[in-house]
Point group: D3
Chain length 302, copies 6
């Protein structure tokens, strides 16, 4: 069985290089460019016939373009005789469109999963999906890996939080995983409904007074949830030294502005998507390359 062939789309080439180094292989040669009219141009330059191919592509915004790039890479690999094509998607765009609430919406996560299958991709590696139920959108096998352990490890090295805080009800299970790693209690911030007509307010459940919180979530997008949670924690009397931790650091829209207004000691995240440059934030980036390289290594040996 030949070594795995790792190819990287343009969504995070430096992570691709890091994974290749961790695997001890050269990254596959391929042209990923644009034609003059803006259409994606792909040409694989490594031999792929009979190879076990891994395509690294986090589908961060603009997810349509990165998704199509991945689809075209997979098409080229499959038509050129790849034995198997695995999409390595450390960030899975549209994971949050995993249910229909209002009625006439799309079910975005399933639609994207169907596109991936239509592209002839055989298998997906995902990292800290927004929800584990997203796997139900896939018929093909999905390998779900996590950055929680290395993130918790880095937090332990750098900080001394005394409570892990889930910023809303959706992250409670994630917070419990951090808590187990760090041997800490959990607190939860949640929007409480006061009555049928009254507006809701954010309440903190758990002992946070005087504590140094580590607020965790799967991603920091606009930082709205994080920001509101930190404010609720401060009102509840926590120490004005907060650490944020999330697997995916998108930092879009008003994120930087919101975060810069908070008393943050550190923001710990990964390179699942490229980290922002010169953000002014006390940003600590843990690489997911070891976790992904380990997964690729495990998958390619079978």
């Amino acid at each position: 069985m030949t070594a795995p062939l790792l190819l990287s789309g343009s969504a995070n080439p430096s992570l691709g290089n890091a994974i290749a180094r961790a695997l001890g292989v050269a990254i596959g040669a391929c042209l990923v460019d644009r034609f003059p009219d803006g259409e994606i141009q792909i040409e694989l330059r490594s031999e792929v016939r009979g190879r076990d191919v891994y395509l690294l592509q986090p589908t961060r915004p603009p997810a349509g373009e990165y998704l199509l790039e991945m689809v075209l890479l997979a098409d080229a690999a499959r038509r050129s005789g790849a034995r198997r094509v695995t999409a390595v998607m450390p960030y899975f765009g549209y994971a949050r469109q995993d249910r229909r609430v209002l009625g006439r919406e799309p079910l975005g996560a399933r639609a994207v999963a169907d596109l991936i299958a239509a592209a002839g991709i055989d298998r997906v590696v995902a990292l800290d999906l927004h929800s584990a139920t997203v796997e139900g959108c896939f018929r093909l096998p999905l390998e779900h890996v996590s950055a929680v352990k290395p993130l918790a490890q880095r937090v332990r090295e750098l900080e001394k939080p005394s409570v892990v805080v889930s910023p809303d009800l959706g992250a409670v299970k994630l917070a419990e995983r951090y808590a187990r790693e760090l041997d800490l209690p959990v607190a939860v911030v949640h929007k409480q409904r006061l009555s049928g007509s009254e507006v809701s307010a954010r309440a903190v459940v758990g002992a946070v007074k005087g504590a140094t919180p580590l607020v965790v979530d799967d991603m920091i997008s606009t930082a709205g949830t994080m920001s509101a949670a930190v404010e609720a924690l401060l009102e509840a009397g926590c120490m004005p030294e907060v650490t944020l931790c999330a697997s995916h650091g998108l930092f879009v829209g008003p994120a930087m502005q919101r975060l810069s207004a908070l008393p943050l000691r550190r923001v710990v995240t990964t390179d699942s998507v490229p980290a922002p440059q010169a953000s002014g934030l006390p940003l600590e980036v843990v690489s997911v390359a070891p976790v992904l390289a380990e997964a690729i290594s495990r998958l390619s040996q079978a």
Copy 2:
């Protein structure tokens, strides 16, 4: 366009009759029996050619048998020229197997959804699914209806609860829907993790002291969650007059024993699965026939 043809499997024939009455149609004639060796015997006796067929079958335990019965009904209908086959599944078995946690498990909800599609069923009507994300398991259109309004309406007619309680974090959104209907505040019982090594305890978030609680969930199965939640509420000082409300009343295993030990005023549920006979519980059963008839009527006119 001809009237819809409603056929009922053997999982809940009396609900089938109730829906037919609500639609103002005769229920379709079909033999649903067993051969001497125990294999399911199906023979449709109504003409189905060109008809818009609705198969009522909640896949309650033994879900494999009821599912196969539905598959065979659908096969008979499709091969006999039905224009479209819609599975009406007020209870959807295996909905709780909607993610893989331990690793080498099946993703049961997706496996069942794939069997339904393989059977040539065109569309599904579900009622108060365990989680809205189950829709992601389906490629075919799923019409998701709810018994929350009629259940809340019946509670309002019969009881005077002063707080809606979610018995765990998973039912908070459902509790908020009841709260809106009844113009009440929400409280949440949740298992709190005290530290990395300490065992967790159930805490109540929200004002429940002296209140008369309405504890709501999507289903009552073994009643373990409900029972623990009521005990936590009592410890937190609620009135010893509790009403339970759930869309699906399975009451399996130790359910009756657990519930009979609680100070219950009333247990309100629906006929999505056949209600237990002579249970000794103060059971109030709201029929989902109007909700399902309305959905069938709406779907069949388009």
Copy 3:
């Protein structure tokens, strides 16, 4: 290439163990249980990544449950990285629903075959299918093995029949296979139509007077066909010492009562489904483990 991984559902675990012994492998570890609500719980405990997996599950009644169990086992194996999943189904339920006669019936054998394919099963091993045409229901490769040789061998060791009898027209080809193995003539019992309006009667074609018959069929279900054939043979003057032989011994409904009324020397069958306990019948059970182990061995080496 690694050794095959044999997993057994709950339909016939002792056969699973026998096959594993014959293959010289340990049977794969997996939990096949029920949740409190009766839903099937599966957890594979052996590593399956990259393995060639064989799932033993005869889909005897209740076939829906055993089928769903097999589907969930296959889903778990496939999602956990099995290289290939082969269903080993020594008894294939619903094989007799292989045509539509009355019109608005299902085509059960095809419906079941489609469910098996939808589950991501790659290949099926079947044993003495009710009819070889059932293979047409499958797009995936079906390996059809037979217990006729070991059954005939055991009969030869134990008995001295002088004629092989097919109890109806459907089993004539099977009877001829036994006759070749045992070097005996064939007789046929068949329902003869006397005229357009007269009822039919069972006639015996072939010399049976004074003979010691071996009546063979693919299965003994309610034993109705066998019982009527033996009575016709006795009327035709055969010796009152009859041996019955069938690949599948279901013995359902009135089977035991019917058989105990006949002058049987022996009933020879296999463990394709678990043999009845303490039946009072002179039952001789030949194991199909060697035949199935041989098939698995052959399939797994390619």
Copy 4:
């Protein structure tokens, strides 16, 4: 709903015209020709958009060419907007390849069924299939009609047979259907196995001495089975005035020679495939146009 659009391939255009007349419609205009290199040229000249299209094509030899012609007709119809495409196949080639016997053979009937589905055909009408189990090869709905009633009716008008004879075990059920129509007894010719090593001989079961036989089968191909059966009947003392009846009259290879050597009163068959010209046989051809027109009419109204 518009009238059905009937198109005919080149396998039996006169039957196409007869069906059109029976339906009271003009047959659809289409070019079915050959390019100079022998490839099939299709051009539909009637408007098909939104129409319910019926393609008449018995896949008689050369079945590959007639099948491909039907596939191309279906492709043209589907791409041009046909609402639904039904293949009307009064003769279904490769139906006898419905099981695998020797091992490394194809399962021809299933392979053909899969090609039909791949062509985008929605539904099939078949007539007196070699075996009803062929329906299991199809996932799409198959409407199985029969020429037995009109054939029996014509026999009744022309002849006075006194026994219906099945020429082998495979046609017994068919013989019983004729017997019911004609109120006659049934006899069976079958190859009897004398012992394990002796060769078999053809025996007649049932009273045929002095009788006037009507020998029935689904098709007359090389007439080998028919010829051997008639010889066995004559040896058994039947009257030397035999009528043969079969739904499909292929008359290939040595058929004419074999049949001309027999004391035949009449050979009754249908125009499911074009009848042979100037055969010298006392051939009576019953048209299946009424049966097929009735089926199309029934299917197109739903």
Copy 5:
């Protein structure tokens, strides 16, 4: 049958409005926006149940985003009960990736066609595809319409060309269609290979000396082909008053600069993609709304 429901993605909303006006219907209400993280947000606000839905979306660059938007619109429509979903794609991105030349490339046109099918789209309307062979990438019906007639009509109204010129060999058939409409001769510019080692040169075939050329192509992208052709024509002695005509006016990259250097009387194109604003070109835009409205009208009545 209800009126067609026309929905427009964000790729060309003003064309959507123009088609709606031409059809005499209100355009369907739907939200097509972006979430703060850049992911596409879709919500249909018109009732779609049972409707025949047409999604207008030319997949111009960034084609990945517009394609995904169309996919999500289709998913929402299908899951909400649309009877049929037709993608109206007056510009079909990636049509030029219709073959693999260098080896390890993708077959982009087929990959995109497969994504469209995976999205549950039933039918496509395309306009002046780069090549008619792109239809082979689609299994679903493709309605191919053309702007050649209205473009030629507008040219006739505005200009007096005396020869139609194809700027390369690929556009010769298109040029002939214009020539037939305008009753003009055709000339061809093509790259001529002088020998095995010499570089090629552009030659003009046909009489262009002193003529007023109308140079036609399916699209103007970077204007490289057009620019080289005009230069060749000028060298060959044509009048320095050239009209360009193309169905799709992308005008990307150096297009404006190249075109502004040419002696152009007019550039005639359509609104298949939004026309450039304030281009400085003598641009004449013919709307394809009538052609598309006519196609939708024709398709929706069947």
Copy 6:
């Protein structure tokens, strides 16, 4: 990994033998015959379980029969456990039906590609397809090889042409490939449209006066295009010594008559289809066995 197993259908068995020799393997044993009724009879006699199977079958006329033969061979191989089935189709029938021009035609190339996929074929090897865009009809990987190099090589050995001529616009790219191999200039014959109403005439572009032309095309079918091109070349003053070269020599209908009227020095073609016997033409046949053997060797090692 075992050696590839090469099986040959009946369309070109001598090429099959030549490829086997080139690969250094024995050709696989299989029966490819006809039943008495004309239906194809297939029985594989080599073991195929786990083998990498290559089916040689150019689908020359009658393409329907040869295609079905290939489908049945593939079905037998797949059901008998072949690891992978590759169709080696040096001539691909229906490649010219690669677009719909008149409207209600089939898209024959796509229809055939869909049949091939439905047969369970995993991969296709094609040789000098009529157009590279035919690959878009296939979802499965297509390996496109060429006989241009060996054909040019043989021409170089035998003749001294001084110009490569494309007989119409469709073969220009092919002519350029020959020109590169032979280091010659290119000329093009094309039908020129003189005006909107005038009929077209064939013109020659490029210097051919006094030249010795090599006219190349992908195939010679009825030889109409070749014949007209040679006449145009002669009128343009080329030497009356013309060489024709094409990958596929079908020579159907009036081909021989047309070619015998031309001043041909030689007609160079391949054995992609069996060469005509005793044609009277100065025919030189280059075997494609080396090219195909090389492709099989390359594909089977991966």
